[in-house]
Amino acid sequence: MTSVLIVDDELFIVELYRDILQLRGYKVVGTAFDGEEALKKYGNIADKPDVIIMDHRMPIMNGVEATKRILSMNPKQKVIFVSADVLIEKEARDAGAVEFLPKPFRMDDLIEKMQKVSPK
């Protein structure tokens, strides 16, 4: 079962992803509401998630910075960037995100990208 860490500062978005991903058979191993919390949780998870769904605009630490730091801990980590800021795509990809989805996106598109980047 593909495992996921969800990072977004909006509670209703976190709940939305969690509900739908669980319905679609994914295992949500954790959630975080800002980049710094994501780093802490990521460090504490023994079995690293197959995929991280990362928002950008969050308090304390944004998604681009969090992505850079997570990838410095584990360069193989797959990060899918999701953001309402379409203009941030290049920065997200430069930081190491393997995929980018502008909000709002279809959950089918997110699932497709997760299947693409997660281990078979």
Binding site: I20, R57, A84, K103, P104, F105, R106, M107
Partner: protein
């Protein structure tokens, strides 16, 4: 929430609040869209419920495009023409066709694109691609039919003495509001804010085309404003493929 610094100019302050608003609206659109998707994916869902949910999806998509357009218009204030890069117009049309179906799941949309040129490269980065998409979205929004057929042509011509690529989109079912017909596009927006608010897609197309050194116009196919049929014309500066 951060507040804008006192040093910000009034214009930048406006852009800041617009950005905040847009961000939050898009987050909420994400939730609405995803829950609608769940409704649409429910096995055995009533046909009428599905139709209504599909219409709701179109409205969410439209509100997303509105926000994106305003954000891009704000960003476009500072377009630096020497930093513009080439963009393949035909590829943008292909991308737009895919996006259109996502925007309007309740409509059956077909693009007639026979005889497309192979090297219709224009100046304009993603602005030009967004412009193409906006013109298609505008055409479909104005179309009175559920089966939408857009006839699309791309032809090389001259504009103000310079080589350009001209994309024409003909929709025989589009009912063009009189204020958008012909030169009205530019005039309407310069005179009346309430008019601009009725169709930011058209405003976006006109402003971006102007800033990219091209043009955008919409014309009714008939003299009678109550008769359906319109052509949307985008003119963009031709450049050689790098």
């Amino acid at each position: 929430m951060t507040t804008p610094s006192k040093a910000l100019k009034k214009e930048d302050e406006f852009a800041f609040y617009m950005d905040l608003l847009g961000h939050d609206v898009l987050n909420n659109n994400q939730a609405v869209l995803s829950y609608l998707e769940l409704v649409l994916a429910t096995p055995g869902a009533d046909k009428r419920v599905r139709e209504l949910a599909e219409k709701a999806v179109s409205h969410v998509r439209t509100s997303t495009v509105l926000i994106d357009n305003v954000k891009r218009l704000i960003a476009a204030r500072t377009i630096e023409s020497d930093k513009l890069k080439p963009m393949d117009m035909v590829k943008s049309i292909e991308r737009a066709e895919y996006e259109l179906r996502r925007h309007f799941p309740a409509k059956r949309i077909r693009l007639e694109t026979a005889g497309m040129p192979k090297n219709a490269v224009v100046l304009g980065n993603n602005y030009a691609a967004d412009l193409v998409l906006n013109v298609f979205i505008t055409a479909v929004r104005l179309s009175t039919a559920d089966d939408v057929v857009l006839n699309v042509s791309v032809i090389e011509e001259k504009f103000k003495g310079k080589p350009v690529w001209v994309m024409r989109v003909v929709d025989k079912n589009a009912l063009l509001p009189p204020f958008l017909d012909g030169k009205g596009v530019a005039a309407a927006y310069s005179q009346d804010v309430s008019t601009a608010a009725r169709s930011t897609g058209v405003l976006f197309a006109k402003m971006i085309a102007d800033r990219l050194g091209g043009d955008f116009e919409a014309h009714s196919l008939h003299n009678d404003p109550k008769k359906e049929g319109a052509v949307f014309t985008v003119i963009l500066r031709k450049v050689e493929r790098p």
